[in-house]
């Protein structure tokens, strides 16, 4: 049985609709709807995984930046009180800056995840078709037409 992307199957079925009656077309429509449901489920699974990963990353970044903001304040207090040498202060300041940059460098990943979720939410079937079936012919659904 031929393996097709959802897009290819839809085009094929549209062509068949011009010559077949609705009754004869019905089983093929059911096949296509089944394949669309499968694609949608795949998209939603990916959406859940991506969403969970992004949520965890977002929490890590937010918590990290809050802690850094507070720690800089504590550092200033310690410095003003004379509890640290300038060298100790500098070391702690530099460590906090490194951590801040590390967290901020991951914001791009979060933004990319938001873009991807946008695409999936807009049209999960089309997204799954583009992302999986177009790129990996071996996993395309099989159709009897």
């Amino acid at each position: 049985m031929p393996q097709r992307t959802i897009q290819q199957a839809t085009v094929q079925l549209d062509a068949m609709a011009e010559v077949l009656s609705p009754q004869l077309l019905a089983p093929y429509m059911e096949e296509l709807e089944g394949a669309q449901a499968g694609a949608q489920e795949m998209a939603h699974r990916h959406q859940d995984q991506q969403g969970a990963h992004a949520e965890a990353l977002s929490e890590e970044i937010q918590l990290g930046l809050r802690e850094i903001r507070e720690r800089f304040g504590e550092l200033v207090a310690e410095g003003v009180a004379g509890r640290l040498t300038s060298r100790e202060y500098d070391q702690q300041w530099s460590a906090l800056r490194r951590r801040q940059r590390e967290l901020e460098s991951r914001v791009g990943e979060l933004s990319g995840a938001a873009d991807q979720l946008d695409e999936i939410e807009a049209n999960p079937v089309a997204w799954a078709d583009r992302t999986f079936y177009e790129k990996f012919p071996g996993i395309r659904p099989e159709f009897s037409f």
């Binding site: 959406q47 969403g51 930046l65 850094i68 800056r97 938001a114 873009d115 979720l117 946008d118």
Partner: protein, 59 residues
Amino acid sequence: MGTTSRQLRRDLKRIEALSEQAQKAAMEAEDTLAALEDREARRALRQIAFDPRNHMTAS
């Protein structure tokens, strides 16, 4: 249902604000470092100024 893109974009705005706050705190802390270094330098100079060995003249 997991996180949506809308929730993530709200988070991104929150992160942007937190990042600005952290940056401001870093700059204030850097100013304090400069003041600390300045204080240590002046202390070191005072110690040099008051060290009797620096006031010995050839007799």
